[in-house]
Symmetry: C2
Subunit: 344 residues, 2 copies
DNA sequence: CTGAAAGCGCTTACAG
DNA sequence: CTGAAAGCGCTTACAG
């Protein structure tokens, strides 16, 4: 393996000049640069990153804690997210270092350790929880990080974040169902403890009110994000609608999984999603396009999210540019319309 | 941030002794060790890994290329696998570095680069393809790697691998269906180009023959791993069975996704999985336990796989121990029985 | 525009 | 059992 010194000898310059050829080529006379570049190629020289990192004390590595899921649950777009995150990091010459850590505050020593030993420069946080203690802790330790997802219900968000406007996403879903003729639109949610859920639910509620649609008894909180729960909640909604003579004709689900449960219950009752009842999910996971009828779903802009995360983490402190500045980005999701809400 | 030197000064020993306290504590007099340890804790000293790596030229980082999937496809157990891989790596003091690369041979310069710049010590390969060119290339370059999955149809496997005995998994599934009374067991497969598929199919075929069950026209190759394809293939099987007066009563699917398609088609025809037809999948993905009836599925021992991968990659060249030695591990999967094959 | 020197924070033989 | 010295391969002020 060639070293700087060998390249320097080969090109008959000092090591410093080779280093400059790599890191500040404009400082070299074009002729010298050419000669050095040729030697680099000839010797197939690749700079040793450990030596560089030792000197600069930047490793160009970003830590990401692999979430561990309770059995039966899964992050259906996690591989997409990781791929996007890697790609975004690589565009800036960085990479993602994976690690595991206990949930919540108990995991913080792991973060501290990775940073102190200089295995990473900083962290991308995801799976943000309501009152997530990690953000405040990292900020206090002056460990660089950026969060995918807001810390809900705090007065101020500690540190930079990127998030998706869930309320707007659900609002779009409600409007879409309204435009396709639905007038009694229910919402399948998660427990109240989730700030994320409250945000999305608020989008549903507000939009229903705007459109003068009913909301009473139409929001159901499923205790877990499981297909069965979605089916159960849908059954309850359909039964109540029948009894009252006001059948539900639209269902906005807070996740694709719950939406899948809704689809299953409809099928079980001989109803067709997109015909009698319009159904929408959230996340546009791979499953959405694979069931039939395919699931209309709110898609988070994953590539954009990844790009912004890396930008916030690695850019020099933004100069408060009113347009792109600041350290908070709320991105707009997009409704992907398929058969479950609009037959044809 | 404390350095070795500072700790040495604080403990009134040489830096070398502090280093030894960390890396070879047995060399120190118990008393000295105690004193040094105290200083380390007091100063909250964490060794700089870049300095260490520069010196030892080992980074304790393992590269893993995040697969990119065609839209609508997903690796349902990828998050489980990554979690297991991370955990296994961390047990040996290592971590996983994620990167992206073009598929096949085109990606090799990326691997080479990561290794040459000393960002990683070696690689874990997955998504192994038939005739995968990466293994041979890496071996030739003397870049350490281990493969999850065999390179099929080659005379010899280049380099170490861990794989799951797919044939045995499918054999178990067939036997289970047989034991629950099924006598006409079909197989839902992938295209012939997949060595993995041929292996699993062979397990089905051999076991059927052993049990004197029919196999003719009972293996269907779905062009893609999608729910719709599984449903379509199942429809074809059921139709053919009806016509011939010999109804299919068992379906072994090569993946959970295809099995899900089978379940859907059964439901659409008013049949119940586990009653009229027993169905099994492969992978025991999160979806398996979430549909209803829940899906019987062949589970790959993910934690074991991860542990073996890390062991093969990082252990000193095994001394040809007849028991655990060698660089090839074929692990046995396990059938997880649920309602889709056995009601109640 | 180019080069000689110092130093990033460790570990590794080697002496004592 | 402990320490003085060299060196891993870079980059960074600083001179020239």
């Amino acid at each position: 393996m060639a070293t700087l010194k060998q390249v320097a000898a080969h090109a008959d310059v000092s090591v410093q000049t080779v280093s400059n050829a790599l890191n500040a080529p404009h400082r070299l006379k074009p002729d010298t640069l050419r000669r050095v570049t040729r030697s680099i190629e000839l010797l197939n020289y690749k700079p040793n990153r450990n030596a560089r990192s030792l000197r600069t004390s930047a490793v160009e590595l970003i830590g990401y804690c692999v979430p561990s899921w309770p059995h039966g649950q899964t992050h259906l777009v996690m591989d997409q997210f990781l791929h996007a995150l890697c790609t975004a990091a690589e565009r800036t010459g960085r990479h993602i270092l994976l690690f595991t850590a206990p949930t919540g505050i108990d995991g913080m020593p792991v973060y501290d350790d990775l940073h102190a030993r200089r295995l990473v420069d900083g962290f991308v946080l995801s799976q943000t929880e309501t009152h997530d203690p990690r953000h405040g802790w990292l900020k206090e330790q002056r460990i660089p990080f950026v969060s995918f997802g807001r810390v809900w219900k705090e007065t101020t968000q500690p540190g930079p974040y990127v998030d998706v406007d869930g309320a707007a996403g659900c609002a779009t879903a409600v409007r879409h169902l309204y435009e396709t003729g639905r007038r009694r639109i229910a919402f399948l949610s998660w427990p109240r403890t989730s700030g994320l859920a409250e945000d999305r639910l608020a989008g549903w509620r507000t939009t229903c009110k705007e459109l003068e649609l009913p909301t009473k008894d139409l929001a159901i909180r499923c205790p877990e994000d499981m297909i069965d729960e979605g089916a159960r909640a849908t059954a309850k909604l359909l039964d109540a609608g029948l009894e009252a003579g006001t059948p539900v004709d639209g269902i906005v689900a807070i996740s694709d999984i719950l939406a899948l449960g809704a689809l299953r219950e409809l099928t079980a009752r001989g109803l067709t999603a997109g015909v009698e009842v319009g159904v929408t999910g959230f996340d546009d996971s791979p499953l959405a396009s694979v069931v039939s009828p395919a699931l209309t779903s709110v898609r988070q802009p994953i590539d954009r999210i990844a790009t912004e995360l890396i930008a916030l983490l690695t850019d020099s402190p933004a100069p408060a540019d009113p347009a792109t500045g600041g350290t908070e980005r709320l991105l707009q999701p997009e409704l992907v319309i398929r058969g479950s809400s609009a037959p044809g």
